[in-house]
């Protein structure tokens, strides 16, 4: 089970798939790539494909790269590309689905198409309720999901690719009598928590006894992190395939799950790369180091269950798996925990289901044996090699790394506001396009009363995700602080109209009262 040690804030609360209180303004529809569906809105579409959503309190321009589909009933037909097309138009004909037809016929066909599509989108929206969820089977998984199909497909494909990589790496396969794992994917975090029956802070879980299943949610504001969570939990399933009657110990179980969680799926090339740096985990490790704490090899490996298996454990797995010298032995060690005759296992039952497990002290003995570090000197040597790897090789580099590390530093515990501010500022300078980054940095400047800088950052956040009411709201707040009361209030009203009355966002409304202080 993955838990989030970051203190829940705005970032986690703004996960509405569709604005809860957006008022019906028109007959048009908008489907975004991140899965949000807007029905009964008023769109203005240009022949060049630019889309603006009309609200009572203002217009919202939506960049093309966010749009999956825009259905504007009043959309003008495309502009003619050449003289031949100009001539056809002059005759009163319009191009529609590859044929030239009369304008009236085109209008009718277009409206019929829009109606059909409306039905489909309404159906997709309805299927966001768990009782109307969708089902799909692939080679290794049985999915139940409430995200829109075009979002689902991305995770479906990458999970199958991921399974293939791990299965080949570790030579595992599912049992013949149970070839598919059930995967439940929820369109929002709140649905996941409610239907999955887990408390806030849990990001995903794998039920490791029959009937096995995996539950996780789609974080539309951080799809990359969604993949990390999915891969982490799926990895527990794949570890289970080593031996169905064996419960992998917390270390190396969580460490390997984190290692494989740091994977990237190239949607276009359909290629999976594993073993990337997890910046959020690295920040936690670097924070421990800053407080004077280096976890020792024995201390970590022999512990039965500590949180540091996710963080320091990940660094150890990363170090060992990336090392030609150590990778093979590490894999042997992991397999040996389940299979080797010399490893002492104990029986544990989950209800009537018997399992074997290995205690931390025995995990350490096996680790020493298989990593060939049976003397204290050898242990110290490997430990030093590992610590040096953390100090010198694992760095927070690249925009994505700085984004994740910066957010973690600001919202995690203990808070490191100065470090977080620096990392987020660097991410911005290096061209981050994550609205969360701009929002988070904007809040820091807002708290420091640098409202001009805050407004600039909130405006950027809005430009990256103009239909997220929280960003617009904050922008309005900053403008009001700068004395731009009318424009600021208009932004706030626009945010409310877009859906800030959603229960998860209600607390933001209390901030409005602060403006009067």
């Amino acid at each position: 089970m993955l838990r989030n040690s970051v203190i829940p804030t705005l970032a986690l609360s703004l996960l509405a798939a569709a604005p809860a209180a957006a008022q019906a303004q028109g007959e048009d529809m908008l489907l975004l790539k991140d899965g949000r569906i807007f029905l009964d809105v008023e769109l203005v579409t240009t022949p060049e494909g630019e889309v603006t959503v009309q609200f009572e309190n203002g217009e919202v321009h939506v960049p093309g790269h966010l749009i999956q589909e825009a259905l504007d009933l009043d959309a003008p037909p495309p502009a003619p590309k050449n003289a031949e097309e100009e001539a056809k138009i002059a005759e009163g004909l319009l191009m529609y689905q590859g044929k030239w037809v009369s304008a009236s016929k085109r209008d009718k066909m277009f409206r019929d198409e829009i109606e059909d599509r409306r039905e489909e989108l309404v159906s997709i929206q309805d299927s966001q309720l768990w009782r109307n969820r969708s089902f799909e089977k692939t080679k290794h998984f049985e999915f139940e999901y409430t995200v829109p199909p075009h979002v689902f497909e991305i995770y479906r494909d990458q999970l199958e690719a991921y399974f293939k990589v791990f299965a080949k790496d570790w030579k595992v396969k599912p049992p013949k009598d149970n070839p598919r794992l059930k995967i439940c994917m929820y369109v929002t975090e709140s649905d996941f928590l409610q239907i999955g029956g887990v408390p806030k802070g849990v990001l995903g879980y794998f039920r490791f006894v029959d009937p096995m299943e995996l539950n996780f949610f789609y974080d539309r504001r951080d799809p990359v992190f969604t993949t990390e969570v999915l891969f982490h939990e799926a990895n527990h399933y794949m570890q289970k395939l080593i031996d169905l009657e064996f419960k992998m110990p917390h270390f190396p179980g969580e460490a390997i799950a984190e290692y494989y969680g740091g994977a990237h799926w190239d949607v276009d090339k359909k290629k999976l790369t594993v073993g990337l740096v997890l910046p959020s985990r690295l920040v936690e490790v670097k924070t421990d180091i800053a407080t004077g704490k280096y976890w020792g090899l024995e201390e970590l490996v022999s512990a039965d269950e500590v949180y540091q298996h996710y963080t320091w454990g990940w660094t150890l797995a990363h170090f060992l798996m990336k090392s030609k010298k150590h990778e093979k032995n590490f894999k042997k060690f992991v397999m040996a925990l389940a299979e080797d005759k010399k490893v002492r296992r104990e029986s544990v039952s989950i209800g009537a289901i018997p399992l074997k497990m290995v205690r931390g002290s025995e995990v350490w003995e096996a680790f020493r044996r298989f990593m060939k570090i049976e003397t204290d000197e050898a242990v110290k040597e490997l430990e030093k090699e590992w610590h040096d790897y953390i100090d010198n090789e694992l760095k927070v580099e690249g925009v994505r790394a700085k984004e994740a590390a910066g957010v973690r530093a600001v919202k995690g515990y203990p808070r490191q506001m100065i470090r977080g501010k620096r990392l987020l500022s660097e991410a911005v300078e290096e061209g981050s396009t994550s609205p969360i980054v701009y929002q988070t940095l904007g809040e820091i400047f807002y708290d420091d009363r640098d409202y001009a800088k805050a407004a600039e950052l909130f405006e950027k956040a809005v430009s990256f995700d103009p239909l997220e009411p929280g960003y617009t709201f904050w922008h309005g707040m900053a403008l009001k602080r700068l004395g731009q009361s009318e424009e600021g209030q208009q932004r706030i009203e626009l945010a409310k109209e877009m859906g800030i009355n959603d229960p998860s966002l209600r607390w933001l409304l209390e901030l409005e009262d602060e403006l009067d202080d």
Partner: protein, 541 residues
């Protein structure tokens, strides 16, 4: 009141009231509705500060479900609740915050009325249900006479102790939405379906003739923040007022077949036998008397020991249903102590738990700061002694644990038992092992009631330790209060501050322990320590 008189009163009380078991019709003249319940369902009390649940009922029969994979069998008694959602006009009448001023017009207190944010049944379910992962499987609109009804079928599946079904009909009256909610195992639904459906269909509005549907702001959902210091007399008056309020709330809405017994030191609300109540009251009284005798230095003339409410449910299911998930645990109890009919009696977990709560209650009432600041050896020492304490007549007697009789003796024989000095200086990690807590209990018993309480060297030790601890904490707080905090300006300073803070927390506990130890035992010689250890170990046998 003599026990026989109380028993007579209880008998009279029971005969005058018609228990729910033989009369299926339930009327609520306050909220104005009635329901016909299935046979042998009994009403259970509502928590005093509950704003939304207005009635609760429990089936008599227990149902079972066995998980086909885990082969674990769960049990559950079907439950029915009535939840009321008042219209906006009533919610607007609630006071959100009220300033209380003294004669000079200065604000001395701010009272916040805790208004519940649930706007409707779905909101309520989402925010309160904790029986497992759930979703609304069906939602239909219908009518019951002139009333519009929304019918819900909610399925509870993942993370539940057995798949369940919640069937709720929400009756939309003019100014209240009544949600009548029934919950049972999915596998039991076939058997219960007609009874529950009949109950739902029996809902009717009746005239409201008793009381207000809006809770009195002075008796519920109030948080008070006192500003400034109260005089001892003001403190006593406030405690008396709070006791009255709590007692009133606890009795309001109590089902008819519950007995109310006003004892000298307890208010008993009893749904079990008379004998059960007697045993618990006697145990509680013995604990209070023991505490008075053992800790006289904690008692102040202006202290007021509030009477706790001893609420005895008839069984575990009733307690679980009342308490929404389990009995109270934790060192400091609330004034409303809920337990259930204990068929094991003295020595059972329930009994021991109540004894611990009685002791913690008395200590908290007299010196809550002391209770908060107690060193581990004292806290575990008392807690674990209460686990095995029994009353004989009016007297409380402390007994060793089973582990102490065998395990600790063996440790002493093997020369590895922690000495008193080691126990006094032990930090939190030492007490991770439960045996260490029993060792602390043995030491406390030696000092409070054993030979240590008579030995010249140690007879006043607990008192001296307490006085020194109080003084050291005050001094440390003053020192920390005087420290100025500088905001870090660079990442290096920020990292250093984080490091220093995490070290300081670890250090503070150690410093406190060592400072109190130093003050208490400054004059002690090695010989005295050896003597202490020798007699302490000898007392274990």
């Amino acid at each position: 009141m003599p026990r026989f008189a109380r028993a007579l009163l209880a008998l009279l009380s029971l005969s005058l009231l018609a228990p729910l078991a033989t009369a299926q019709k339930f009327e609520d003249k306050r909220f104005g509705y009635e329901l016909r319940l299935p046979k042998e369902w009994s009403q259970i009390p509502i928590k005093a500060n509950e704003e939304y649940i207005i009635a609760k009922f429990l089936a008599k029969k227990t149902y079972f479900y066995t998980d086909p994979d885990l082969k674990i069998t769960y049990e559950h008694k079907p439950e029915l609740q009535v939840i009321a959602f008042l219209s906006e006009k009533y919610r607007e009448d609630s006071v959100d915050a009220e300033e209380v001023k003294n004669e000079d017009g200065e604000t001395v207190k701010i009272r916040f009325n805790l208004t519940n944010p649930y706007k409707d049944y779905e909101d309520f379910l989402k925010n309160t249900y904790s029986g497992g992962g759930f979703y609304i499987a069906e939602e239909n609109e219908s009518k019951a006479g002139n009333l519009k009804v929304t019918e819900y079928l909610v399925k509870v599946e993942k993370g539940a102790n057995g798949p369940r079904r919640i069937v709720t009909w929400v009756f939309h009256t003019e100014d209240i939405d009544f949600a009548v909610q029934a919950e049972c195992f999915e596998s039991s639904w076939k058997e219960l379906r007609s009874d529950i459906t009949r109950t739902m269909k029996s809902f009717e509005e009746i005239e409201r003739t008793e009381g207000s549907i809006v809770q009195d702001a002075s008796t519920s959902g109030i948080v008070e923040i006192e500003l400034g210091e109260l005089t001892p007399e003001e403190r006593m008056k406030r405690r008396q007022a709070r006791e009255r309020e709590a007692h009133q709330r606890a009795q309001a809405g109590l089902p008819e077949d519950w007995e109310v017994i006003e004892e000298d030191l307890f208010l008993v609300l009893n749904h079990a036998d008379d004998k059960d109540a007697d045993k618990l009251v006697e145990q509680g009284e013995a604990v209070f008397r023991w505490c008075e005798k053992t800790f006289p230095y904690l008692i102040d003339d202006t202290d007021y020991l509030r009477k706790p409410i001893l609420r005895i449910c008839k069984d575990w299911d009733e307690l679980a249903s009342f308490a929404f998930g389990g009995r109270e645990s934790g060192w400091v109890p609330s004034i409303d102590m809920v337990t259930y009919k204990d068929t094991v009696g003295i020595g059972s977990w329930t009994y021991s738990n109540m004894t611990q709560r009685f002791c913690a209650w008395w200590l908290n009432e007299h010196d809550g700061d002391f209770l908060d600041a107690m060193p581990y050896w004292m806290r575990y020492g008392l807690e674990y002694n209460m686990l095995y304490a029994k009353h004989k007549g009016k007297k409380l007697e402390l007994y060793p644990s089973d582990w102490e009789k065998v395990g600790l003796r063996q440790e002493i024989k093997d020369g590895v038992a922690a000495t008193p000095k080691e126990i006094f200086l032990a930090t939190e990690e030492f007490y991770d092992g439960e045996n260490s807590r029993y060792a602390a209990a043995a030491l406390m018993r030696y000092l409070l009631v054993g030979k240590g309480s008579k030995d010249k060297l140690t007879k006043n030790l607990v008192r001296e330790y307490y006085l020194n601890m109080t003084a050291v904490i005050e001094e440390m707080d003053k020192e920390e209060g005087g420290e100025s905090y500088k905001e870090p300006e660079t990442e290096e300073e920020e990292a250093a501050m984080i490091k220093e803070r995490s070290e300081r927390l670890r250090q503070r506990e150690k410093e406190l322990m060592e400072a109190v130890f130093e003050r208490t035992f400054a004059e002690w010689t090695d010989k005295e320590w050896d003597r202490f250890a020798k007699y302490y170990f000898k007392s274990i046998g």
